[in-house]
Amino acid sequence: MSRRFVVFAALFLLFFSVAGFLPGAESCARTPDGKDKGAGIYDYEIRIGWGGYPLADGLFFFDSFPLFMKYNDMNYYIPSSMEDIYRDYRGPAYMTGLISAEFDINFKRWFALTVGLGFNGIFQNVYDPMTGRRAGQNSGISVSIVPEARFNWLNRDMVRMYSAIGLGLTLGSMTERDFGYTDLMLYPVVQVTPVGISVGRRVYGFAEAGIGTQFLGGMAGVGVRF
């Protein structure tokens, strides 16, 4: 993992953790007797986040798994036709990582239901084998919708910790310019958040670990409670 990524990730998490301490709209954040509302009093939340390795997308579109990223072995495939020899070739493939937007309904201090919409962008340059110049791009996007049940097992005034489990669906599409076709994939999402933390009152930052087909790794973001 590059140093640049680590520095950005640390700044990112730090920024949003600090953002949780910023005062929100004062009238909404206070109880009728003038006291601050704590983290667990609000009925609804909206949050946006980013992060994590989109596991299923990587596997289905690139046969790639984290820590075992596929290194194309040139010796593995020897083209046997002119069309294959002179086909535009592919550069490294990137994904944006999961960008998610959620709407949460807090039924109890310890329980919430959420509906999340996730997006992952995929892009990969292709090059002309005769000139080595960029000839275009393979690109794709996957969109997932995942309802989740979230269980808050630590509720403090400023800090909440939780776990969650979700089941949903992902629709992925990848257009491969060099082969001239579009791949469409529909697959189920099973996503578990073993631990997550939110810091703040009305406006908060959050960070969580995720394991599942939607993403693997850490996600961070910001939310608003109302």
Binding site: F8, A19, Y71, S80, I85, Y86, P92, G97, I99
Partner: protein, 263 residues
């Protein structure tokens, strides 16, 4: 900017900065080795080695098929076909794991006669694709000289020009039979691709080694049993009439030399 807008703006800025790489890419398949592989393992096999093997198998089968029944009983078939033979009919034999030979009652060495040799051994073009059975129609055009009339493979029929592929028996050496092969051809593919191939004017010398000590018919007529020892074979690749690459292969008894347009 409103402080609440700064947050999603910063997230958007960070996305391209830390996007994860999930594949290192393929790299270009256009390299020296691909050109050589295409020229030697695809084109040369199609226009030289497989047709020549068909002719050689037929010539060896002639020694048996030309005999009457009593002579056939005394014939040491395993000396020619170490994997044995099965009779399809009186004029046709099957060489297990190798080929079927159909003489139609004609003499292979008689000018004008035509035989069919079906190569039944699977030929792997690459790890993903193999050719099915290939049926070669062979015509005798002179003393110890044959041309390929047509080939049917995977449901596709190809008719060759007169003397486009010619195989001539040149005599026996120490443990081998010698042949001279001249061939030329043209292959087209979707996308405007075309390859033009051909042997040098004197053709290629091909030796069929009979001293391999093998026990199956495939090994007796393919692989190391067949060696090109002299001459050259060239392939030039075009797209829409523009030359892309070339490969020239020169054979000597001890070596194979490649001259390719790429380093």
């Amino acid at each position: 900017m409103n402080r609440f807008l700064r947050i999603p703006a910063l997230m958007l800025l960070l996305v391209p900065a830390v996007s994860c790489m999930v594949d290192t890419g393929s790299g270009s398949y256009r390299d020296k080795y691909s050109i050589i592989h295409y020229s030697e393992d695809i084109v040369e096999v199609e226009y030289v080695m497989r047709p020549a093997s068909a002719v050689i198998i037929a010539r060896e089968a002639e020694a048996y098929l030309s005999l009457d029944d009593s002579e056939r009983e005394d014939f040491d078939i395993n000396s020619v076909f170490p994997g044995g033979i099965r009779h399809i009919d009186r004029n046709s034999i099957n060489l297990p794991d190798c080929a079927n030979v159909y003489s139609y009652g004609q003499r292979f060495g008689e000018t004008g006669s035509e035989w069919t040799v079906s190569l039944t051994s699977q030929y792997f073009v690459d790890p993903y694709y193999f050719r099915g059975q290939e049926d070669y129609r062979i015509r005798c055009i002179g003393s110890d000289t044959w041309m390929i009339v047509s080939r049917v493979c995977d449901g596709m029929s190809v008719e060759y020009d007169d003397e486009q592929i010619v195989v001539k028996y040149t005599g026996d050496g120490d443990g081998y039979s010698g042949y001279r092969v001249t061939a030329s051809g043209r292959t087209t593919e979707d996308g405007g691709y075309e390859s033009v191939c051909g042997t040098s004017e004197d053709g290629l010398e091909l030796r069929h080694h009979k001293d391999m000590g093998v026990s199956d018919n495939y090994s007796a007529f393919f692989g190391y049993a067949m060696r090109l020892t002299e001459g050259s074979f060239g392939v030039t690749i075009y797209r829409d009439g523009n030359m892309l690459d070339y490969c020239s292969i020169t054979y000597t008894p001890d070596n194979v030399l490649y001259d390719v347009s790429l380093e």
